[in-house]
Protein backbone atom coordinates (compact mmCIF):
# COMPACT_ATOMS: atom_id res chain seq x y z
CA UNK A 1 0.00 0.00 0.00
CA UNK A 2 1.13 3.51 -0.75
CA UNK A 3 2.44 5.63 2.11
CA UNK A 4 0.29 8.72 2.57
CA UNK A 5 2.04 10.35 5.53
CA UNK A 6 5.45 9.72 7.00
CA UNK A 7 6.85 11.41 10.07
CA UNK A 8 10.55 11.32 10.84
CA UNK A 9 11.93 12.21 14.27
CA UNK A 10 9.00 14.49 14.80
CA UNK A 11 9.23 16.66 17.90
CA UNK A 12 7.28 19.62 19.13
CA UNK A 13 8.23 21.69 22.12
CA UNK A 14 6.20 24.61 23.39
CA UNK A 15 8.50 27.24 24.80
CA UNK A 16 5.97 29.95 25.45
CA UNK A 17 5.17 28.38 28.83
CA UNK A 18 6.95 28.77 32.16
CA UNK A 19 8.54 25.40 31.69
CA UNK A 20 9.11 24.06 28.14
CA UNK A 21 6.49 21.43 27.25
CA UNK A 22 7.61 18.56 25.04
CA UNK A 23 4.33 17.77 23.33
CA UNK A 24 5.84 15.35 20.79
CA UNK A 25 9.09 13.44 21.15
CA UNK A 26 10.80 11.73 18.28
CA UNK A 27 7.65 10.38 16.63
CA UNK A 28 8.34 8.15 13.63
CA UNK A 29 5.18 6.88 11.98
CA UNK A 30 3.91 5.94 8.56
CA UNK A 31 0.28 5.94 7.46
CA UNK A 32 -0.74 3.88 4.44
CA UNK A 33 -3.51 4.55 2.00
CA UNK A 34 -6.87 3.36 3.34
CA UNK A 35 -5.84 2.97 6.97
CA UNK A 36 -8.37 3.63 9.71
CA UNK A 37 -6.20 4.77 12.60
CA UNK A 38 -7.06 5.90 16.09
CA UNK A 39 -4.53 7.99 18.00
CA UNK A 40 -5.23 7.42 21.67
CA UNK A 41 -3.71 8.43 24.93
CA UNK A 42 -4.49 10.36 28.07
CA UNK A 43 -5.09 14.10 28.06
CA UNK A 44 -1.88 15.99 27.33
CA UNK A 45 -0.32 13.01 25.60
CA UNK A 46 0.10 14.97 22.34
CA UNK A 47 -2.79 13.58 20.25
CA UNK A 48 -4.11 16.93 19.10
CA UNK A 49 -0.60 18.35 18.63
CA UNK A 50 0.21 15.38 16.43
CA UNK A 51 -2.89 15.95 14.31
CA UNK A 52 -2.14 19.68 14.09
CA UNK A 53 1.42 19.04 12.96
CA UNK A 54 0.56 16.42 10.32
CA UNK A 55 -2.36 18.63 9.25
CA UNK A 56 -0.03 21.57 8.62
CA UNK A 57 -1.72 23.69 11.26
CA UNK A 58 1.36 23.73 13.47
CA UNK A 59 5.07 23.50 12.75
CA UNK A 60 7.26 20.85 14.37
CA UNK A 61 10.27 21.95 16.37
CA UNK A 62 12.27 19.17 14.77
CA UNK A 63 11.74 16.41 12.26
CA UNK A 64 9.81 15.99 9.06
CA UNK A 65 6.24 15.43 7.95
CA UNK A 66 6.41 13.97 4.46
CA UNK A 67 3.20 13.95 2.48
CA UNK A 68 3.20 13.24 -1.22
CA UNK A 69 7.03 13.35 -1.16
CA UNK A 70 6.99 16.86 0.26
CA UNK A 71 8.10 17.86 3.76
CA UNK A 72 5.26 20.13 4.77
CA UNK A 73 7.24 21.37 7.79
CA UNK A 74 9.30 23.46 5.38
CA UNK A 75 6.33 24.99 3.60
CA UNK A 76 5.37 28.64 3.89
CA UNK A 77 2.00 29.52 5.40
CA UNK A 78 0.54 30.46 2.02
CA UNK A 79 1.60 27.09 0.58
CA UNK A 80 0.13 25.30 3.57
CA UNK A 81 -3.31 26.87 3.00
CA UNK A 82 -3.35 25.46 -0.48
CA UNK A 83 -1.90 22.17 0.65
CA UNK A 84 -4.55 21.68 3.32
CA UNK A 85 -7.27 22.62 0.88
CA UNK A 86 -6.20 20.02 -1.67
CA UNK A 87 -4.84 17.18 0.42
CA UNK A 88 -6.46 17.09 3.85
CA UNK A 89 -10.01 16.76 5.15
CA UNK A 90 -10.76 17.94 8.69
CA UNK A 91 -13.49 16.85 11.09
CA UNK A 92 -13.65 18.72 14.39
CA UNK A 93 -15.11 17.81 17.76
CA UNK A 94 -17.57 20.71 17.71
CA UNK A 95 -18.74 20.07 14.10
CA UNK A 96 -17.85 23.66 13.14
CA UNK A 97 -20.16 24.05 10.22
CA UNK A 98 -20.81 27.53 8.87
CA UNK A 99 -24.09 28.39 10.58
CA UNK A 100 -25.46 30.61 7.82
CA UNK A 101 -24.99 28.05 5.07
CA UNK A 102 -27.27 25.08 4.39
CA UNK A 103 -25.98 21.52 4.56
CA UNK A 104 -25.36 21.36 0.82
CA UNK A 105 -23.69 24.79 0.83
CA UNK A 106 -21.45 23.76 3.73
CA UNK A 107 -20.33 20.68 1.83
CA UNK A 108 -19.85 22.69 -1.38
CA UNK A 109 -17.83 25.35 0.39
CA UNK A 110 -14.46 23.61 0.25
CA UNK A 111 -14.99 22.74 -3.40
CA UNK A 112 -15.78 26.40 -3.98
CA UNK A 113 -12.42 27.29 -2.44
CA UNK A 114 -10.88 24.69 -4.75
CA UNK A 115 -12.58 26.51 -7.63
CA UNK A 116 -14.39 23.41 -8.83
CA UNK A 117 -17.06 23.96 -11.51
CA UNK A 118 -20.46 24.75 -10.02
CA UNK A 119 -22.18 21.71 -11.49
CA UNK A 120 -19.52 19.29 -10.29
CA UNK A 121 -19.58 20.97 -6.90
CA UNK A 122 -23.33 20.59 -6.44
CA UNK A 123 -23.37 17.05 -7.71
CA UNK A 124 -20.54 15.98 -5.41
CA UNK A 125 -22.13 17.74 -2.40
CA UNK A 126 -25.45 16.01 -2.98
CA UNK A 127 -23.65 12.69 -3.47
CA UNK A 128 -21.72 13.08 -0.22
CA UNK A 129 -24.78 14.10 1.75
CA UNK A 130 -26.58 11.11 0.29
CA UNK A 131 -23.70 8.89 1.42
CA UNK A 132 -23.98 10.16 4.99
CA UNK A 133 -27.74 9.69 4.90
CA UNK A 134 -28.76 13.32 4.75
CA UNK A 135 -30.22 13.59 1.26
CA UNK A 136 -33.42 14.88 2.85
CA UNK A 137 -31.62 17.69 4.64
CA UNK A 138 -29.82 19.37 1.77
CA UNK A 139 -31.27 22.80 2.32
CA UNK A 140 -31.40 22.79 6.08
CA UNK A 141 -29.14 25.02 8.15
CA UNK A 142 -26.94 23.51 10.91
CA UNK A 143 -29.08 24.95 13.70
CA UNK A 144 -31.97 22.79 12.49
CA UNK A 145 -29.89 19.61 12.55
CA UNK A 146 -29.08 17.37 15.51
CA UNK A 147 -25.48 17.07 16.72
CA UNK A 148 -25.12 13.71 14.97
CA UNK A 149 -26.49 15.10 11.73
CA UNK A 150 -24.19 18.11 11.94
CA UNK A 151 -21.19 15.85 12.40
CA UNK A 152 -22.29 13.80 9.39
CA UNK A 153 -22.41 17.01 7.34
CA UNK A 154 -18.92 17.79 8.64
CA UNK A 155 -17.75 14.36 7.47
CA UNK A 156 -19.36 14.94 4.06
CA UNK A 157 -17.60 18.30 3.91
CA UNK A 158 -14.25 16.75 4.78
CA UNK A 159 -14.62 14.05 2.13
CA UNK A 160 -16.22 16.12 -0.62
CA UNK A 161 -12.92 17.56 -1.79
CA UNK A 162 -11.48 14.02 -2.23
CA UNK A 163 -8.56 14.57 0.18
CA UNK A 164 -5.59 12.22 0.54
CA UNK A 165 -6.56 11.67 4.16
CA UNK A 166 -8.99 12.87 6.80
CA UNK A 167 -7.96 14.07 10.25
CA UNK A 168 -10.68 13.86 12.86
CA UNK A 169 -10.11 15.37 16.29
CA UNK A 170 -12.38 13.55 18.72
CA UNK A 171 -15.31 13.54 16.30
CA UNK A 172 -17.64 11.52 18.52
CA UNK A 173 -16.91 13.35 21.76
CA UNK A 174 -20.12 15.39 21.64
CA UNK A 175 -22.39 12.67 20.25
CA UNK A 176 -24.79 10.30 21.95
CA UNK A 177 -24.19 6.59 21.49
CA UNK A 178 -26.62 6.11 18.62
CA UNK A 179 -25.28 9.11 16.71
CA UNK A 180 -21.69 8.08 17.39
CA UNK A 181 -22.31 4.53 16.07
CA UNK A 182 -24.14 5.91 13.11
CA UNK A 183 -21.23 8.25 12.31
CA UNK A 184 -18.66 5.50 12.78
CA UNK A 185 -20.64 3.18 10.48
CA UNK A 186 -20.59 5.83 7.81
CA UNK A 187 -16.88 6.55 8.21
CA UNK A 188 -16.00 2.86 8.25
CA UNK A 189 -18.05 2.33 5.09
CA UNK A 190 -16.40 5.29 3.32
CA UNK A 191 -13.00 4.03 4.45
CA UNK A 192 -13.76 0.65 2.98
CA UNK A 193 -15.59 1.71 -0.17
CA UNK A 194 -13.54 4.73 -1.14
CA UNK A 195 -10.26 3.60 0.42
CA UNK A 196 -10.00 6.87 2.34
CA UNK A 197 -7.29 7.19 4.97
CA UNK A 198 -8.80 8.18 8.31
CA UNK A 199 -6.82 9.30 11.34
CA UNK A 200 -8.74 9.97 14.54
CA UNK A 201 -7.60 11.32 17.83
CA UNK A 202 -9.95 9.96 20.41
CA UNK A 203 -10.69 8.84 23.93
CA UNK A 204 -13.80 7.09 22.74
CA UNK A 205 -13.70 3.32 23.08
CA UNK A 206 -16.39 3.05 20.39
CA UNK A 207 -13.96 4.57 17.91
CA UNK A 208 -11.01 2.58 19.16
CA UNK A 209 -13.02 -0.63 18.72
CA UNK A 210 -13.58 0.20 15.05
CA UNK A 211 -10.02 1.27 14.23
CA UNK A 212 -7.77 -1.09 12.30
CA UNK A 213 -4.73 0.54 13.82
CA UNK A 214 -4.42 2.08 17.26
CA UNK A 215 -1.44 4.24 18.15
CA UNK A 216 -1.04 5.10 21.80
CA UNK A 217 0.82 8.25 22.71
CA UNK A 218 2.16 8.83 26.18
CA UNK A 219 3.91 12.08 27.07
CA UNK A 220 4.34 12.88 23.38
CA UNK A 221 6.03 9.63 22.43
CA UNK A 222 4.64 6.54 20.72
CA UNK A 223 3.98 3.98 23.40
CA UNK A 224 2.19 1.36 21.29
CA UNK A 225 1.35 0.94 17.63
CA UNK A 226 -1.14 -1.92 17.21
CA UNK A 227 -2.82 -3.28 14.07
CA UNK A 228 -6.18 -5.09 14.18
CA UNK A 229 -8.21 -6.99 11.69
CA UNK A 230 -11.77 -5.62 11.59
CA UNK A 231 -14.67 -6.30 9.30
Amino acid sequence: MQTVIKTESLSKTYTNTAVPVHALKDVNLEFKQGEFTAIVGPSGSGKTTFLNVIGGLDKPTEGKVVIDDVDIATMKESQLFDFRLRHIGFVFQAYNLIPVLTAVENVSFIMLLQKKPKKEMEQRAREMLDQVGLSEKLHVRPSQLSGGQQQRVAVARALASKPDFVLADEPTANLDTESAFNLLDIMARLNKEENITLIFSTHDQRVIDRAKRVITLVDGAVDKDEHFKRN
Binding site: F81, R84, L85, R86, F90, F92, V100, S108, R157
Partner: protein
Amino acid sequence: MFFILAWRNIWRNKRRTLITVSSVLFAYVLATALLSFAEGFQRQLKETMIRQETGYLQIQDAYYFDEPSLDHTLEYGDNVKQAVAEFDEEIDYVVPRIQGFSLAAKEMSTRPAMVTGILPGQENKIRNLSGNMVRGEMFSEDDDFAVIAKGLADLLKLDIGDTLILIGQGYQAVTATGMFEVGGIIEFQLPEQNNTAVFLPLKEAQWYFAADNRLTNLIIMPADPDQINRLASELQSRLDDEWYTAKTWKELMPDMVGLMQMQNTVYTGIAWIFYIIVGFGIFGTILTMLYERMQEFGILLSIGMKRIQLGIIGLIETILIGLLGTTAGVLTALPIVYIFQQFPIKFTGEMAEYILRFGMEPVFPFVIDKHIFINQAYTVFGITLLIGLYTMRKMYSIQILEAAKN
Protein backbone atom coordinates in the same frame (compact mmCIF):
# COMPACT_ATOMS: atom_id res chain seq x y z
CA MET B 1 -20.90 32.40 -2.49
CA PHE B 2 -18.68 34.88 -0.62
CA PHE B 3 -21.29 37.58 -1.12
CA ILE B 4 -24.09 35.26 0.01
CA LEU B 5 -22.02 34.25 3.01
CA ALA B 6 -21.32 37.88 3.92
CA TRP B 7 -24.97 38.85 3.42
CA ARG B 8 -26.20 36.03 5.64
CA ASN B 9 -23.51 36.72 8.21
CA ILE B 10 -24.66 40.27 8.78
CA TRP B 11 -28.16 38.97 9.52
CA ARG B 12 -27.00 36.49 12.13
CA ASN B 13 -27.90 39.03 14.75
CA LYS B 14 -30.71 40.95 13.10
CA ARG B 15 -31.28 43.37 15.94
CA ARG B 16 -27.64 44.40 16.13
CA THR B 17 -27.40 44.87 12.39
CA LEU B 18 -30.61 46.89 12.30
CA ILE B 19 -29.35 49.14 15.10
CA THR B 20 -26.06 49.69 13.25
CA VAL B 21 -27.82 50.33 9.94
CA SER B 22 -30.15 52.75 11.73
CA SER B 23 -27.22 54.63 13.20
CA VAL B 24 -25.75 55.03 9.71
CA LEU B 25 -29.17 56.12 8.47
CA PHE B 26 -29.59 58.77 11.17
CA ALA B 27 -26.07 60.11 10.72
CA TYR B 28 -26.59 60.28 6.97
CA VAL B 29 -29.97 62.01 7.30
CA LEU B 30 -28.71 64.50 9.90
CA ALA B 31 -25.54 65.30 7.95
CA THR B 32 -27.40 65.60 4.66
CA ALA B 33 -30.14 67.78 6.14
CA LEU B 34 -27.57 69.98 7.87
CA LEU B 35 -25.47 70.40 4.75
CA SER B 36 -28.55 70.91 2.54
CA PHE B 37 -29.56 73.73 4.85
CA ALA B 38 -26.02 75.14 4.94
CA GLU B 39 -25.81 75.04 1.16
CA GLY B 40 -29.26 76.62 0.85
CA PHE B 41 -28.34 79.36 3.29
CA GLN B 42 -25.09 80.09 1.51
CA ARG B 43 -26.76 80.16 -1.87
CA GLN B 44 -29.37 82.58 -0.54
CA LEU B 45 -26.70 84.74 1.06
CA LYS B 46 -24.55 84.64 -2.05
CA GLU B 47 -27.47 85.39 -4.35
CA THR B 48 -28.59 88.29 -2.15
CA MET B 49 -25.15 89.80 -1.92
CA ILE B 50 -24.49 89.33 -5.61
CA ARG B 51 -27.78 90.91 -6.56
CA GLN B 52 -27.53 93.77 -4.09
CA GLU B 53 -23.85 94.48 -4.24
CA THR B 54 -21.51 93.20 -6.85
CA GLY B 55 -23.14 91.01 -9.47
CA TYR B 56 -21.29 87.86 -10.52
CA LEU B 57 -18.57 89.70 -12.37
CA GLN B 58 -17.43 93.27 -12.75
CA ILE B 59 -15.21 95.20 -15.04
CA GLN B 60 -13.57 98.03 -13.13
CA ASP B 61 -10.75 100.46 -13.47
CA ALA B 62 -7.55 98.66 -12.52
CA TYR B 63 -7.21 100.67 -9.27
CA TYR B 64 -10.85 100.99 -8.25
CA PHE B 65 -10.97 97.87 -6.04
CA ASP B 66 -8.05 99.07 -3.89
CA GLU B 67 -9.09 102.70 -3.94
CA PRO B 68 -12.77 103.07 -4.75
CA SER B 69 -13.03 106.69 -5.80
CA LEU B 70 -14.40 108.47 -8.80
CA ASP B 71 -10.86 109.13 -9.95
CA HIS B 72 -10.66 105.43 -10.68
CA THR B 73 -13.65 105.20 -12.94
CA LEU B 74 -13.38 103.38 -16.23
CA GLU B 75 -14.19 104.79 -19.60
CA TYR B 76 -17.12 102.86 -21.02
CA GLY B 77 -15.75 103.10 -24.50
CA ASP B 78 -15.75 100.93 -27.58
CA ASN B 79 -12.91 98.73 -26.37
CA VAL B 80 -14.93 97.62 -23.31
CA LYS B 81 -18.14 97.30 -25.28
CA GLN B 82 -16.40 95.20 -27.94
CA ALA B 83 -14.78 92.93 -25.38
CA VAL B 84 -18.17 92.35 -23.77
CA ALA B 85 -19.87 91.89 -27.13
CA GLU B 86 -17.49 89.02 -27.95
CA PHE B 87 -19.11 87.03 -25.18
CA ASP B 88 -22.64 87.98 -26.09
CA GLU B 89 -23.89 84.39 -25.92
CA GLU B 90 -22.37 83.80 -22.53
CA ILE B 91 -23.54 87.05 -20.98
CA ASP B 92 -27.14 87.38 -19.94
CA TYR B 93 -27.02 91.16 -19.43
CA VAL B 94 -24.77 93.96 -18.20
CA VAL B 95 -25.51 96.62 -15.59
CA PRO B 96 -23.49 99.84 -15.74
CA ARG B 97 -23.16 101.90 -12.57
CA ILE B 98 -21.40 105.00 -11.38
CA GLN B 99 -21.43 105.73 -7.70
CA GLY B 100 -19.80 107.95 -5.14
CA PHE B 101 -20.45 109.58 -1.80
CA SER B 102 -21.95 113.07 -1.62
CA LEU B 103 -23.76 115.28 0.79
CA ALA B 104 -27.54 115.31 0.37
CA ALA B 105 -29.30 118.41 1.57
CA LYS B 106 -32.65 120.08 1.88
CA GLU B 107 -32.60 123.63 3.11
CA MET B 108 -30.51 123.51 6.32
CA SER B 109 -30.47 119.71 6.71
CA THR B 110 -27.68 117.61 5.31
CA ARG B 111 -26.97 113.89 5.33
CA PRO B 112 -24.30 111.69 3.75
CA ALA B 113 -25.57 109.92 0.67
CA MET B 114 -24.42 107.21 -1.69
CA VAL B 115 -25.31 108.52 -5.13
CA THR B 116 -25.65 105.83 -7.75
CA GLY B 117 -26.26 106.39 -11.43
CA ILE B 118 -28.16 103.51 -13.00
CA LEU B 119 -29.99 102.32 -16.06
CA PRO B 120 -33.30 101.41 -14.40
CA GLY B 121 -34.24 98.75 -16.94
CA GLN B 122 -30.94 96.91 -16.42
CA GLU B 123 -30.89 97.54 -12.68
CA ASN B 124 -34.37 96.06 -12.31
CA LYS B 125 -33.14 92.81 -13.81
CA ILE B 126 -30.58 92.40 -11.07
CA ARG B 127 -32.42 93.70 -8.01
CA ASN B 128 -35.90 94.85 -8.97
CA LEU B 129 -35.57 98.33 -7.53
CA SER B 130 -38.92 99.37 -8.96
CA GLY B 131 -40.58 96.69 -6.84
CA ASN B 132 -39.40 98.50 -3.69
CA MET B 133 -40.89 101.87 -4.57
CA VAL B 134 -43.14 103.17 -1.82
CA ARG B 135 -44.08 106.49 -3.37
CA GLY B 136 -43.75 108.13 -6.74
CA GLU B 137 -42.16 106.27 -9.62
CA MET B 138 -38.82 104.96 -10.83
CA PHE B 139 -37.24 107.21 -13.47
CA SER B 140 -36.59 106.03 -16.99
CA GLU B 141 -33.21 106.26 -18.73
CA ASP B 142 -33.96 109.71 -20.15
CA ASP B 143 -35.60 111.28 -17.08
CA ASP B 144 -33.75 113.74 -14.90
CA PHE B 145 -35.29 113.27 -11.47
CA ALA B 146 -33.96 111.36 -8.47
CA VAL B 147 -35.27 108.44 -6.49
CA ILE B 148 -34.18 108.43 -2.86
CA ALA B 149 -34.35 105.88 -0.07
CA LYS B 150 -37.16 106.24 2.43
CA GLY B 151 -34.88 106.57 5.46
CA LEU B 152 -32.99 109.44 3.86
CA ALA B 153 -36.24 111.06 2.74
CA ASP B 154 -37.53 110.91 6.31
CA LEU B 155 -34.28 112.31 7.73
CA LEU B 156 -34.26 115.22 5.28
CA LYS B 157 -38.05 115.54 5.33
CA LEU B 158 -38.12 115.16 1.58
CA ASP B 159 -41.19 114.11 -0.37
CA ILE B 160 -42.23 113.72 -3.96
CA GLY B 161 -41.78 116.97 -5.86
CA ASP B 162 -39.27 118.42 -3.39
CA THR B 163 -35.77 119.42 -4.50
CA LEU B 164 -32.78 117.39 -3.40
CA ILE B 165 -29.46 119.18 -3.35
CA LEU B 166 -26.31 117.10 -3.85
CA ILE B 167 -22.83 118.38 -3.15
CA GLY B 168 -19.74 116.27 -3.52
CA GLN B 169 -16.53 115.61 -5.35
CA GLY B 170 -16.62 114.46 -8.91
CA TYR B 171 -14.13 113.00 -11.35
CA GLN B 172 -10.61 114.40 -11.02
CA ALA B 173 -11.48 116.61 -8.02
CA VAL B 174 -14.18 118.54 -9.81
CA THR B 175 -16.74 119.92 -7.40
CA ALA B 176 -19.99 118.09 -8.01
CA THR B 177 -23.21 120.00 -7.34
CA GLY B 178 -26.70 119.32 -8.52
CA MET B 179 -30.33 119.92 -7.76
CA PHE B 180 -32.75 117.14 -8.55
CA GLU B 181 -36.45 116.81 -8.12
CA VAL B 182 -37.44 113.85 -5.99
CA GLY B 183 -39.62 111.70 -8.23
CA GLY B 184 -39.77 108.52 -6.21
CA ILE B 185 -39.09 107.08 -2.77
CA ILE B 186 -37.80 103.56 -2.38
CA GLU B 187 -37.51 101.44 0.76
CA PHE B 188 -34.66 99.14 1.70
CA GLN B 189 -34.55 96.71 4.63
CA LEU B 190 -30.90 97.36 5.32
CA PRO B 191 -30.79 100.53 7.48
CA GLU B 192 -27.52 101.84 6.10
CA GLN B 193 -28.81 101.56 2.57
CA ASN B 194 -32.20 102.95 3.50
CA ASN B 195 -30.62 106.02 5.09
CA THR B 196 -28.15 106.91 2.35
CA ALA B 197 -29.26 105.71 -1.10
CA VAL B 198 -29.87 108.21 -3.86
CA PHE B 199 -30.47 106.99 -7.42
CA LEU B 200 -30.07 109.06 -10.54
CA PRO B 201 -30.42 108.12 -14.19
CA LEU B 202 -26.95 107.09 -15.39
CA LYS B 203 -26.50 110.09 -17.68
CA GLU B 204 -27.59 112.52 -14.96
CA ALA B 205 -25.16 110.95 -12.49
CA GLN B 206 -22.32 111.08 -15.01
CA TRP B 207 -23.12 114.74 -15.57
CA TYR B 208 -23.29 115.34 -11.81
CA PHE B 209 -19.90 113.67 -11.21
CA ALA B 210 -18.45 115.33 -14.33
CA ALA B 211 -17.59 111.84 -15.54
CA ASP B 212 -19.12 111.64 -18.99
CA ASN B 213 -19.24 108.11 -20.33
CA ARG B 214 -17.45 106.80 -17.26
CA LEU B 215 -18.48 104.05 -14.83
CA THR B 216 -17.29 102.87 -11.47
CA ASN B 217 -18.43 99.34 -12.27
CA LEU B 218 -19.77 97.43 -15.21
CA ILE B 219 -21.61 94.49 -13.73
CA ILE B 220 -21.80 91.39 -15.88
CA MET B 221 -24.42 88.75 -15.25
CA PRO B 222 -23.42 85.54 -17.03
CA ALA B 223 -25.83 83.03 -18.52
CA ASP B 224 -24.06 80.31 -16.52
CA PRO B 225 -22.72 81.51 -13.16
CA ASP B 226 -20.52 78.41 -12.93
CA GLN B 227 -18.42 79.81 -15.79
CA ILE B 228 -17.50 83.13 -14.18
CA ASN B 229 -13.85 82.31 -13.53
CA ARG B 230 -13.25 81.39 -17.15
CA LEU B 231 -15.32 84.31 -18.37
CA ALA B 232 -13.41 86.73 -16.12
CA SER B 233 -10.08 85.49 -17.35
CA GLU B 234 -11.12 85.60 -21.02
CA LEU B 235 -12.57 89.09 -20.63
CA GLN B 236 -9.40 90.20 -18.93
CA SER B 237 -7.36 88.87 -21.83
CA ARG B 238 -9.25 91.19 -24.16
CA LEU B 239 -8.80 94.28 -21.98
CA ASP B 240 -5.76 96.39 -21.30
CA ASP B 241 -4.42 95.23 -17.91
CA GLU B 242 -3.06 98.68 -17.20
CA TRP B 243 -6.51 100.22 -17.19
CA TYR B 244 -9.09 97.51 -16.64
CA THR B 245 -9.66 94.56 -14.41
CA ALA B 246 -12.32 91.86 -14.51
CA LYS B 247 -13.14 90.59 -11.03
CA THR B 248 -15.49 87.85 -9.86
CA TRP B 249 -17.79 88.24 -6.89
CA LYS B 250 -15.39 86.13 -4.87
CA GLU B 251 -12.62 88.65 -5.44
CA LEU B 252 -14.96 91.54 -4.80
CA MET B 253 -16.31 90.16 -1.53
CA PRO B 254 -13.40 88.32 0.14
CA ASP B 255 -14.95 88.78 3.58
CA MET B 256 -18.10 86.98 2.51
CA VAL B 257 -16.08 84.20 0.91
CA GLY B 258 -14.19 83.85 4.18
CA LEU B 259 -17.45 83.75 6.12
CA MET B 260 -18.82 81.10 3.79
CA GLN B 261 -15.67 79.03 4.13
CA MET B 262 -15.87 79.30 7.88
CA GLN B 263 -19.52 78.21 7.81
CA ASN B 264 -18.59 75.30 5.57
CA THR B 265 -15.89 74.23 7.97
CA VAL B 266 -18.26 74.40 10.93
CA TYR B 267 -21.05 72.49 9.19
CA THR B 268 -18.66 69.91 7.78
CA GLY B 269 -17.16 69.55 11.25
CA ILE B 270 -20.60 68.89 12.73
CA ALA B 271 -21.32 66.36 9.97
CA TRP B 272 -18.03 64.65 10.76
CA ILE B 273 -18.99 64.41 14.42
CA PHE B 274 -22.07 62.47 13.29
CA TYR B 275 -19.87 60.28 11.14
CA ILE B 276 -17.29 59.66 13.84
CA ILE B 277 -20.09 58.54 16.16
CA VAL B 278 -21.54 56.28 13.50
CA GLY B 279 -18.04 55.07 12.57
CA PHE B 280 -17.48 53.88 16.11
CA GLY B 281 -20.94 52.25 16.00
CA ILE B 282 -20.04 50.26 12.91
CA PHE B 283 -16.59 49.55 14.30
CA GLY B 284 -18.08 48.20 17.52
CA THR B 285 -20.50 45.98 15.65
CA ILE B 286 -17.83 44.63 13.34
CA LEU B 287 -15.40 43.99 16.20
CA THR B 288 -18.10 42.15 18.14
CA MET B 289 -18.95 40.10 15.06
CA LEU B 290 -15.27 39.40 14.57
CA TYR B 291 -14.60 38.17 18.08
CA GLU B 292 -17.85 36.20 18.28
CA ARG B 293 -16.83 34.24 15.22
CA MET B 294 -13.14 33.83 15.95
CA GLN B 295 -13.42 30.05 16.27
CA GLU B 296 -15.29 29.85 12.99
CA PHE B 297 -12.53 31.85 11.30
CA GLY B 298 -9.94 29.52 12.78
CA ILE B 299 -11.82 26.53 11.38
CA LEU B 300 -12.24 28.14 7.97
CA LEU B 301 -8.51 28.85 7.82
CA SER B 302 -7.80 25.29 9.00
CA ILE B 303 -9.77 23.72 6.20
CA GLY B 304 -7.89 25.71 3.59
CA MET B 305 -9.60 29.04 3.21
CA LYS B 306 -7.01 31.71 2.46
CA ARG B 307 -6.65 34.72 4.70
CA ILE B 308 -7.39 37.04 1.79
CA GLN B 309 -10.67 35.21 1.12
CA LEU B 310 -11.65 35.47 4.76
CA GLY B 311 -10.67 39.14 4.74
CA ILE B 312 -12.77 39.79 1.65
CA ILE B 313 -15.82 38.33 3.38
CA GLY B 314 -15.17 40.64 6.36
CA LEU B 315 -14.76 43.60 4.02
CA ILE B 316 -17.97 42.76 2.14
CA GLU B 317 -19.86 42.47 5.45
CA THR B 318 -18.68 45.91 6.57
CA ILE B 319 -19.42 47.52 3.24
CA LEU B 320 -22.85 45.89 3.13
CA ILE B 321 -23.74 47.44 6.48
CA GLY B 322 -22.53 50.82 5.21
CA LEU B 323 -24.41 50.44 1.93
CA LEU B 324 -27.63 49.40 3.65
CA GLY B 325 -27.38 52.38 6.01
CA THR B 326 -26.55 54.79 3.20
CA THR B 327 -29.33 53.51 0.93
CA ALA B 328 -31.82 53.80 3.76
CA GLY B 329 -30.33 57.22 4.53
CA VAL B 330 -30.77 58.47 0.96
CA LEU B 331 -34.32 57.15 0.80
CA THR B 332 -35.14 58.88 4.08
CA ALA B 333 -33.20 62.11 3.57
CA LEU B 334 -34.46 62.79 0.05
CA PRO B 335 -38.14 63.21 0.93
CA ILE B 336 -37.28 65.09 4.14
CA VAL B 337 -35.07 67.61 2.36
CA TYR B 338 -37.60 67.84 -0.49
CA ILE B 339 -40.40 68.67 1.94
CA PHE B 340 -38.28 71.32 3.67
CA GLN B 341 -37.30 72.74 0.31
CA GLN B 342 -40.89 72.94 -0.89
CA PHE B 343 -42.34 74.04 2.44
CA PRO B 344 -39.49 75.79 4.22
CA ILE B 345 -39.68 76.48 7.93
CA LYS B 346 -40.17 80.22 8.41
CA PHE B 347 -38.36 82.41 10.89
CA THR B 348 -40.64 84.59 12.95
CA GLY B 349 -40.31 87.60 15.23
CA GLU B 350 -37.08 89.52 15.64
CA MET B 351 -35.04 86.89 13.83
CA ALA B 352 -37.28 87.24 10.76
CA GLU B 353 -36.90 91.03 10.85
CA TYR B 354 -33.16 90.76 11.23
CA ILE B 355 -32.88 88.47 8.20
CA LEU B 356 -35.20 90.71 6.21
CA ARG B 357 -32.86 93.63 6.85
CA PHE B 358 -30.27 91.82 4.82
CA GLY B 359 -32.74 91.46 2.01
CA MET B 360 -33.03 87.73 2.49
CA GLU B 361 -36.15 85.64 2.83
CA PRO B 362 -36.62 84.67 6.50
CA VAL B 363 -36.77 80.91 5.98
CA PHE B 364 -34.57 77.86 6.51
CA PRO B 365 -33.58 77.53 2.87
CA PHE B 366 -32.98 73.81 2.15
CA VAL B 367 -31.72 72.76 -1.26
CA ILE B 368 -31.61 69.38 -2.95
CA ASP B 369 -28.11 69.14 -4.30
CA LYS B 370 -27.04 65.79 -5.69
CA HIS B 371 -23.44 66.53 -4.72
CA ILE B 372 -24.37 66.71 -1.05
CA PHE B 373 -26.16 63.36 -1.24
CA ILE B 374 -23.35 61.76 -3.22
CA ASN B 375 -20.58 63.21 -1.05
CA GLN B 376 -22.23 61.97 2.12
CA ALA B 377 -22.60 58.53 0.55
CA TYR B 378 -18.90 58.61 -0.36
CA THR B 379 -18.06 59.64 3.20
CA VAL B 380 -20.01 56.72 4.68
CA PHE B 381 -18.46 54.42 2.10
CA GLY B 382 -15.00 55.73 2.96
CA ILE B 383 -15.58 55.16 6.68
CA THR B 384 -16.93 51.65 6.15
CA LEU B 385 -14.08 50.89 3.77
CA LEU B 386 -11.56 51.95 6.43
CA ILE B 387 -13.29 49.80 9.04
CA GLY B 388 -13.50 46.98 6.50
CA LEU B 389 -9.77 47.25 5.81
CA TYR B 390 -9.11 47.14 9.55
CA THR B 391 -11.29 44.02 9.71
CA MET B 392 -9.26 42.50 6.88
CA ARG B 393 -6.05 43.30 8.70
CA LYS B 394 -7.41 41.74 11.88
CA MET B 395 -8.40 38.62 9.97
CA TYR B 396 -4.96 38.47 8.43
CA SER B 397 -3.40 38.32 11.87
CA ILE B 398 -5.59 35.50 13.22
CA GLN B 399 -3.58 32.72 14.82
CA ILE B 400 -5.30 29.67 13.39
CA LEU B 401 -4.91 27.25 16.29
CA GLU B 402 -5.71 29.84 18.95
CA ALA B 403 -8.77 30.97 17.04
CA ALA B 404 -9.95 27.41 16.41
CA LYS B 405 -9.61 26.62 20.12
CA ASN B 406 -11.47 29.85 21.05
